[in-house]
Symmetry: C2
Subunit: 566 residues, 2 copies
Amino acid sequence: MGDTPHTAERPLANGQTRIDFQTEPSRYRHWKLNIAGDVAALLLDVDEKGALFDGYELKLNSYDLGVDIELADAIERLRFEHPQVRVVVLRSGKPRVFCAGANIRMLAGASHAHKVNFCKFTNETRNGIEDLSENSGLQTICAINGAAAGGGYELALAADYIMLVDDGSSAVSLPELPLLAVLPGTGGLTRVSDKRKVRRDHADFFCTTEEGVKGKRALDWRLVDEVVPGSKFEEAVAARAREFAARSRRGNGGQGIKLVPLSRTFTPDGVDYGTVASDFDRPGRIAIVTLRGPKVPPPASADAMVSLGAEFWPLKLARELDDAILNIRLNEFDVAAIVFKSSGDPADAVAYEHFLDANKDHWLVREIRHLWKRVLKRVDLTSRSLVTLIEPGSCFAGTLAELAFASDRSYMFLGQREGDNKPPAAMVLTKANFGAYPMSNGLTRLASRFLANPGDVETAKSQSEKMLDAETAQRLGLITFALDDIDWDDEVRVFLEERASFSPDSLTGLEANLRFAGPETMESKIFARLTAWQNWIFQRPNAVGEAGALKRYGTGQQPVFDTRRV
Amino acid sequence: MGDTPHTAERPLANGQTRIDFQTEPSRYRHWKLNIAGDVAALLLDVDEKGALFDGYELKLNSYDLGVDIELADAIERLRFEHPQVRVVVLRSGKPRVFCAGANIRMLAGASHAHKVNFCKFTNETRNGIEDLSENSGLQTICAINGAAAGGGYELALAADYIMLVDDGSSAVSLPELPLLAVLPGTGGLTRVSDKRKVRRDHADFFCTTEEGVKGKRALDWRLVDEVVPGSKFEEAVAARAREFAARSRRGNGGQGIKLVPLSRTFTPDGVDYGTVASDFDRPGRIAIVTLRGPKVPPPASADAMVSLGAEFWPLKLARELDDAILNIRLNEFDVAAIVFKSSGDPADAVAYEHFLDANKDHWLVREIRHLWKRVLKRVDLTSRSLVTLIEPGSCFAGTLAELAFASDRSYMFLGQREGDNKPPAAMVLTKANFGAYPMSNGLTRLASRFLANPGDVETAKSQSEKMLDAETAQRLGLITFALDDIDWDDEVRVFLEERASFSPDSLTGLEANLRFAGPETMESKIFARLTAWQNWIFQRPNAVGEAGALKRYGTGQQPVFDTRRV
């Protein structure tokens, strides 16, 4: 079905056995991050020889996951390391080409699982760019001098403002359908229809036209925000950057902090990060992700927090959890379920919630909350069954309790284990559970959970700051099942075994539907309707079959289509 | 890829070569419609031997498209023939089983194209049941005495009120995932999460539990509205029916009209209905659907309209267009594009719009408007490229103009054809274009079209009732392109040829995304995110491969899954 065999995911070009999501500017091969005062430039200058996998070259500023990992890293550094930056200009470091989009030969050779998860990650990165603008005031200008095709234009679509040089040839395009028989993979259709509100018949023309649209028509059809003659382009881009910077509310944050490399210990069956441990039960097809509570009390002041930098527990935990989730997503396809556990004293975790709340207007606290929001959304969107086990000695309090609400099910231990003196499991709700972390659908997890009776959210809120035992948590509807020592081991084991026995695809579809009740946003539309259609098309012989367009692209042979409309 | 070969769609059991959507109660094999005063009973009593295709029997009140065609017909007749009915009780005519859902052997043997279009039709029928309640005041009670599994429970979910007998064994269930490795195909997940607002972890448990949920838990988890001991079930159902009937605002409509059989002439390359003609250009993979304007002026009064019954032009046109669309969807998979044309005088069509508007509170006019709303939604949801050609001598006025707005593109002829005395093409907007026909997303087609500038809707409205020539229509943004005699033939031909050359799957995905900008509703969620995930899963080897669950169901062999999560 177009998939490479199960046991042989594509070899990495760098000789490593797993895709690494950690990088830093000094190691970038494809992007340059230049900062001058309050304006940053992010230059895409892809190293053709720097592909993630063997077997293709990254020509024409085309990208693969490796390129996007650097972009995602650069965006995080703008948030945390450069709080003075007010505007970022996205542009190409190569002449006459902005970006040719995702590398087609990479796509043609990738497993379905990699393709789908690659698209998910690039989508998250683009949503992160929009979040940077909306919530941190760092706006993005995309300056297109050359061709912005497919994923290249989709990258532009994430910007607040798109400038296109008017030189008779530079164009924006989404040629996926006519060229490759697939859909744009990174939110392009949704952003064209819902963000830029391009009229549907214009969008239809645009998305079925290989060469795209340029000049005045691109402007008239709302595909770009400004077209500028080549001779005035640099000047216009600089002027817009100054204007955007002047309007930005960002930039009173003082010094940034350094996002030091994560310290990780890899073993054959796990990764230990420090505040997070990821353990793989491979026969059971389970990843147990344990979050460790703080070992020290919160710092005495916001300045002390800044001094701690990336060692500050909430930030360290978020970064490590993010890496753990991405590692499972892209390197551990066989994991059926992620089991969240935690260890520590809920009171210690609550103390950090109080610290964050007391300093909620500090730029670094804001960025940490937004990072957690994005990490938790990443969890929501991870196509593995999610289960939280709330056991004696755990610390699911405030932000950590969100993992229980993000899970498909949660089990909470009633009382203590025989012969174990760990304190009974307790969950604690804090302010963070009632607004800090909206899901893709715009609602908090508790509001999504209690869609039937919004009053249940208020009832839960009235119990904030209390140590809620399993019976109380169950009565409040915060957990799925409360089990005592007699039932716990068997019930949890049977559930996890059963989960691993189901068809992975049907679980993915089920969870994608049940996790996001209620309203839809552009973001949820991208991850739900658009992604699902893409996945479907990525399975169809017309795209990925031996005679399909994706396989035949560049061979000189025309694709052969099954002409039935479905 | 799980599809039967292109040239051999499954043979029909009745010896016919095409699926027929026309039926009437005297021909029903699976449903009984009993009417007693203001209460109707719709009894599902499937004839095992009455399958649409060869090769399977419809055991345990399972269904195929043939069963659902009868249900859809019965619902239409309740609307038009029985305006006195205020409540309908949906139940089984068989003991100990309500409905086992879609027939699994039918699904296992069906082409992907049939499966997808079967699900689309059953979804439309269930949405029609909800529309009947919301807009015509005819509420539905579902009385479940026995097992309601899969599609059986999904049928119940369309009702306003679900009653379940509490007999220790009757249960509701969605066992598709554990049994078949697919998703419930008829909106079940969305109605569980968004209509009944079942808590997501309860929904997760419910949808992964083969045996389903019964009794008090079904009630507590909001899966049903009432559980009743077996000894009191009949009495309780009758009491609820009386209560619902007493509360209904329906039933002042007097006599119904008869939905007489459509008169159709089939030729090898088309169907002529009278007010609609459907012509197939098979080499070009185009269906040209021509709508003919009225031949007589509107009747003198509402009573005269009732006397005309199904011959009343707007009603006849809607029914014939609906049949034409369904015929293309389920019998003509090779059609890449539907081209809408019309013939007649726009003024004549406008006269009918005025008649309908003047009588807008008459029950029959309301039903006709709602029928048009549903037919136009059916057009929106048809996975073929839609194009409207507005030529000299056409009558795209009011309701008919909606087809241009439903189309992916529209082309309008500038001036007259050389040597042809037909009057220049004109489009006319009427009140009907500004509220009568919301799309699945809840917006009018013009509001969806002008999402960027809602003021454009107002500007268009100010031009209502005027004969808009091609230049004006283009200026108002109502059409995609205006072309003169010199360019028309070539441009239209090239467009249609190009369209037919693209991958059908990618067009389906593209159109499904671009047609529905803006807000989402439960209905749009069903047709977009849920359907897309289903289609994906219906392509995956874990479901439809030789060792997949759908293929192996009932064979005694366990399915073998590719365990990778995607």
